[in-house]
């Protein structure tokens, strides 16, 4: 059985010391080992950003795609080979700006993959511009007078898009994050995890301390019920999206693949590529 260490390679991340993404990486590696995965059973598909480099730092099959496109690539991988565990990952700009269309549609489509967003509320790789989840008034190179737009609350968007698994955590809480990722990978369907992963270089507002002060564990909320979407949405709105834990989990939902008759009998890549002669003749006869 593979351990945490088997998911490590010898490549040194180029993240700034103290960057939140280190812990997200560690939590993924721990969760994979804890779920009994082998490195060759895992595919990590990422977008572009500081966070997108993740696929190169985990020992597994990895695909570092283009900015905003980790989700469609990841869904294609899963559709081709259902035996693989597929994790898609990237930043807040990647998932909520350029890739937002894919995010909403992946949520509603419900293909069985896990999507982990490293949300630092800023563009790290391009050196500090505003992001869709930057708070109102957040000052960056592109918002010298402070951001004038309302921030996106990722978990609210996820719920509104028909998600079947929604969670939020912070990279400093590796223990909780690991447990959430484990459950997300077990979930049959699309699982969405927004992880606040502080950018120590370009975001001096949403720091580790800030999250310690402002995030509310769902366990602390009376009558919080993560099996009830309405309850979840109410609390998300009441607490301005600053919750921590599993926000919503629909255990009954069927994944996209489960809804296609016979699809999961065998992974697509194992299916016969050559048509039977009878099938060929039958199909060709339709052109007469």
């Amino acid at each position: 059985m593979a351990t945490f260490k088997d998911f490590r390679n010898n490549i040194k991340p180029n993240w700034c010391p103290g960057c939140g993404d280190f812990s997200v990486q560690a939590a993924i590696q721990k969760a994979c080992a804890a779920n009994g995965l082998e490195p060759d059973e895992l595919a990590v598909i990422t977008g572009i950003g500081c966070s997108g480099r993740l696929s190169g730092y985990i020992k597994s099959y990895g695909f570092h795609s283009t900015h905003g496109r980790s989700l469609p690539v990841a869904q294609g991988v899963k559709m081709a080979n259902d035996d693989l565990t597929v994790i898609a990952s990237g930043g807040d700009g990647d998932g909520f700006a350029i890739g937002m269309g894919h995010t909403v549609h992946a949520l509603k489509r419900n293909i069985d993959i896990t999507y982990i967003v490293m949300d630092n509320q800023v563009y790290g790789l391009t050196k500090g511009q505003t992001s869709p989840s930057s708070g109102k008034g957040f000052v960056t190179k592109t918002t010298p007078e402070g951001s004038k737009e309302n921030p996106i609350q990722p978990i609210r968007t996820a719920l509104a898009s028909g998600a079947t698994f929604v969670a939020q955590s912070v990279s400093s809480d590796i223990k909780q994050l690991t447990a959430i990722i484990q459950q997300a990978m077990d979930h049959k369907g699309f699982s969405f995890i927004n992880v606040f992963s502080p950018c120590v270089t370009y975001n001096k507002v949403n720091t580790y301390d800030w999250f310690k002060e402002n995030l509310i564990p769902v366990e602390d909320i009376e009558d919080f019920d993560h099996t009830d979407a309405k309850n979840a949405m109410q609390n998300v709105m009441e607490y301005d999206g600053l919750l921590k834990g599993i926000i919503y989990h629909d255990q009954e939902a069927k994944s996209y693949q489960e809804n296609i008759e016979g699809y999961l009998d065998q992974p697509l890549i194992k299916k016969e590529m050559t048509l039977e002669n009878d099938t060929f003749d039958e199909l060709m006869a339709e052109f007469r």
Partner: protein, 579 residues
């Protein structure tokens, strides 16, 4: 008796014009005639003039006709818009319901027949198309039995009563026309066919069936004219072989999903038209850079922007050859006709996987949607070649990253698919080392870029073009896709040594194979459907310094007619004589 006739049916869109043309032509195909059809339609769904032109012949036809012999009109607009295309003494079969009138200046015959009234009396005016088909059959002196058989197979699901009513409509149409025959001038009778079994299909079906045979089991696509039939065919047929289609949120998702699925080892593709291809440009580079096989079908229509969404054009060529930023190896193919579209599609998937490159399969609206006869496809010619794809565990691989981008002599590295033991590697659109780790060093960059570009350096497919005629010629005509058939027909009418070349391998340009023909031609003419003579530019770039290269373009949205090309060729050859 006629070797070939051109029949056209027109009316308001949504009124069953398509099905009239469909039933008529499908029956003729089953009778063994060669057919080539052209649908004129607008972006509206209901209303607006639409027509379906079917050219019927006892020999192979691969082009629309210069004019029409028979016009079946369900409204006055059809007559007003189309009767000028009729040959001298050509005939209009019109529904008496709208008291049809013809232009007195035109030398054509008008026969008014109660299509709607007859159908109504039989129970439903929907059957007016059967009355019209019956009348057409009589005019062309065709046997009725094949039409009856066709009606039976089409309607038996709805019950014998419906079949009987439609049979009756057909027969009454036949008789109504029979009463008119004494007054008809001229000969509209077809010569008998050779009764050979043939397919009758649109290019999009040939491409789709090709994809299915190439082992495609997954497709991701976004609807667009004139590509949607491909996705619809796959939706209907992929489940029969355990596959599926996802209709994505946009074309970027479609192409990247196809990339993901190909990366994971399942042959996958997407299809679209110009607007969708424009959105896919960045991802084509991702496929090129990560060396992930990818096939995209581009069914060209009128551009730019939304352009002429339902009209014929071939103006995506340059973007397909050069599109995406940076340098990547890429293959662009153009099947020579509908039959070839089947085989070339299979080849496209093999090439994509063998060379680990993006392959763009071109079509154009007329090839994609023009229904035409084709010889049956030969299953023995279907072959799947996966190149250096590794689908089984690699036993002796050390516990390290696999060299996915190893610097092989032919530039093509081994490609283990995710999930197998011993194949772990990383792929990225960032410049990378042999194991796929991002690496920006100048030395590595040079090695990897050279490796990628080397893959297609000497690439020529088995049949890079289809040629008819001699190496030495008075005139060589170069064309691609649906223009091929028209160019050929025009060439055959000319009393000179004309060689036609249907270019199939558009990029990399097969200049070495083509050179003898180019050198041997006194004149070269490139015929294409776009404003800026894109194919001519490509030829000039690859075969520089030749002022013999002429161009004939058309960009009004309608397909070339043989006559237009014939006139153009004559003018070129005449210029030569004078000189």
């Amino acid at each position: 008796m006629n070797e070939q006739l051109s029949w056209k049916v027109g009316g308001q869109q949504g009124e069953g014009i398509e099905s009239t043309g469909e039933i008529f032509s499908t029956t003729l195909n089953r009778m063994g005639y060669h057919l080539y059809s052209y649908r004129h339609f607008s972006s509206r769904i209901k209303g607006g003039h639409t027509n379906n032109n079917v050219r019927i012949s006892t020999k192979e036809v691969r082009a629309v006709s210069d004019n029409i012999n028979i016009l079946v009109a369900f409204d006055q607009q059809t007559i007003d818009l189309n009767s000028h295309e009729l040959v001298q003494d050509g005939i209009i079969l019109a529904d008496s319901k709208f008291s049809p009138e013809k232009d007195e200046n035109l030398n054509v015959q008008l026969v008014s027949i109660p299509f709607t009234e007859t159908a109504k009396a039989l129970g439903s005016q929907l059957m007016k198309n059967m009355v019209a088909i019956g009348a057409s059959a009589r005019l062309m002196n065709l046997e009725l039995q094949p039409f009856k058989d066709m009606i039976y197979t089409m309607f038996i699901r709805k019950g014998q009563e419906i079949v009987d009513a439609n049979h009756e409509a057909l027969i009454q149409g036949y008789q109504l026309m029979d009463d008119e025959m004494v007054r008809i001038k001229g000969d509209f009778e077809m010569l008998p066919s050779d009764s050979e079994p043939r397919l009758f299909l649109i290019g999009n079906d040939a491409i789709s069936f090709g994809a299915l045979n190439a082992g495609v089991r997954f497709m991701a696509a976004y609807p667009i004219t004139p590509a949607s039939e491909i996705m619809e065919y796959m939706i209907n047929n992929l489940p029969k072989v355990g596959g599926t289609v996802i209709q994505t949120e946009d074309e970027i998702a479609a192409v990247t999903m196809a990339i993901g699925s190909n990366y994971a080892g399942a042959r996958s593709f997407t299809s679209s038209a110009g607007p969708g291809l424009s959105l896919m440009m960045e991802s084509i580079g991702l496929s090129g850079m990560t060396e992930t096989p990818l096939v995209i079908v581009d069914t060209m229509r009128g551009g730019p922007s939304t352009g002429l969404p339902t009209k014929q054009e071939q103006s995506d060529l340059m973007q397909m050859i050069y599109g995406t930023h940076g340098d990547i190896p890429k293959i662009v193919l153009a099947p020579s006709d509908v039959e070839d579209a089947f085989y070339t599609t299979i080849e496209a998937f093999n090439l994509a996987e063998y060379y680990q490159v993006p392959v763009i399969m071109l079509s154009d609206l007329q090839m994609s949607l023009g229904k035409q006869s084709s010889a049956p496809f030969d299953v023995s010619r279907v072959e799947i070649n996966r190149g250096k794809t590794i689908t089984e565990d690699i036993e002796d691989q050390a516990d390290e990253y696999f060299e996915r981008y190893g610097d092989e002599e032919d530039g093509i590295s081994h490609r283990p698919i995710p999930g197998i033991k011993g194949g772990i590697h990383h792929v990225t659109g960032v410049e990378h080392s042999p194991t796929g780790t991002p690496n920006e060093s100048p030395e590595n960059r040079q090695v990897q870029m050279d490796k990628r570009m080397r893959k297609l350096k000497d690439f020529t497919m088995e049949e890079p073009f289809k040629v008819q005629g001699n190496v030495d010629s008075d005139l060589l005509i170069l064309s691609f896709l649906s223009v091929n058939g028209v160019a050929r027909e025009a060439a055959e009418r000319i009393d000179a040594d004309v060689t036609t070349v249907n270019l199939k391998q558009i990029h990399p340009f097969p200049i070495d194979a083509l050179r003898p023909y180019l050198d041997g031609a006194k004149e070269i003419l490139v015929i294409e459907q776009n404003y800026s003579a894109q194919l001519q530019s490509v030829l000039k770039m690859n075969y520089p310094g030749h002022d013999r290269i002429r161009s004939h373009v058309k960009y009004d949205g309608t397909p070339f007619k043989p006559e237009e090309i014939e006139t153009h060729i004559n003018s070129i050859l005449k210029i030569k004589e004078v000189m």
